[in-house]
Chain length 227, copies 2
């Protein structure tokens, strides 16, 4: 029984790693679609989202089976419950990357990105791509310290998000109304991807240590998941 | 043991009902804040969001304790896992209502709502408020048929969301740049609240029947949870 249990746990962990890699690929593809106006990249992210949805469904099924048949306790139970929740968060990150790709596709052959906001979106893209890469590594290595660093860095993305509105509200903004709409939404999608990544980092800390950093009363770590 | 189990299940179900009612109150308060420019209502939604976050944390704790100590199977397990996921969705719905309230507060004493889009936002508000009310009732009565009706009706909200962009992009739109930004975000928040409510309805169907309608291949029900 125990051998089987460990094999099944390993399978679930592998699938979660696969899902993390698929989410990172979707975020990178969304960036290519948006910033390089790459319609093939856009289509590939949109099509690939079904795979991410399928991975979520499969991981949740496996977790529920595991709970039903093995009745894990203590650390094992924490891992299964965290995995359930992380899989759902990954699924949403994939949706958000798809939204960015869809925005690029709708604007094509024009660009959804007005030049005045391009630099900011490149920064947000880099932030989310880097964060998704960190999540892959943290998940594989159960690296609590790096997870905590990610949680603390979240306010950088919030600052970038706030800058969006200064740019759009500024006198130099010459974007079309559609570019204004797209910029507001894209900034929101980028910010949500980053927030969800932080949520995953929190859950990895909980998974590894049993301590939930979203309940930490210090201001640095306060503020739970959003939307 | 069984008596204790049922008592604990009842407590979790009661807390989830309390959370559903708090989410409905937050949505209604956000509507008052936004559409009646009611700053007290806005503040009350913003302050009240902490209570919703606390309920989520408590419900998740109870579910994990339940899994650890009682090892539920079959229907009971399905209820516990669904409850975990529904509590997280309610938490996000509360965040979104808070975002609407925050938008109203930021604009105050001006209104965040340009008159040209007021009618549309009233409809979206009514939709979300009605849906949240249905969720309370469906949850209490485990009413699968009404849950399925809610799932099918979701496209009405999508239509309202799409209309937002027609209005903002239209020639008659005279909103300030800030009102444009606010309108794009508010419409998005309303649409997300409705999507999450549909996600809850799907999970209630799964909880009651063991059938997951998000896996139904018919176009009417296809398309999973978003963001």
């Amino acid at each position: 029984m125990r051998v089987l249990f460990n094999e099944e746990m390993k399978q679930i962990a592998d699938d979660l790693d696969t899902m993390a890699a698929a989410v990172k690929a979707a975020i990178d593809g969304a960036g290519k679609a948006l910033l390089d106006n790459d319609i093939d990249a856009a289509q590939s992210v949109i099509d690939g989202d079904l795979k991410i949805d399928g991975l979520e469904a499969s991981i949740i099924d496996q977790c529920v089976q595991m709970l039903a048949k093995q009745s894990p306790v203590a650390t094992d139970l924490r891992i299964v419950v965290s995995t359930l929740r992380i899989a759902s968060t990954f699924e949403r990150m994939g949706d958000l990357a798809r939204h960015i790709a869809e925005t690029a596709r709708r604007a094509y052959p024009d660009s959804a990105v007005n030049p005045a906001i391009r630099d900011l979106f490149e920064k947000m893209q880099d932030f989310d791509s880097h964060t998704a890469g960190e999540i892959i590594s943290i998940l594989q290595n159960r690296d609590e310290d790096r997870a905590e660093k990610l949680i603390v860095n979240d306010n950088k993305l919030d600052e970038l998000h706030t800058q969006t509105f200064s740019i759009i509200n500024g006198e130099d903004w010459k974007g079309t109304q559609q570019q204004t709409i797209d910029a507001v939404l894209i900034a929101r999608f980028y910010e949500r991807i980053g927030d969800h990544a932080v949520g995953v980092a929190r859950r990895i800390v909980y998974m590894v240590s049993g301590f939930d950093p979203s309940k930490d009363p210090t201001p640095l770590l306060a503020g739970g998941l959003d939307e």
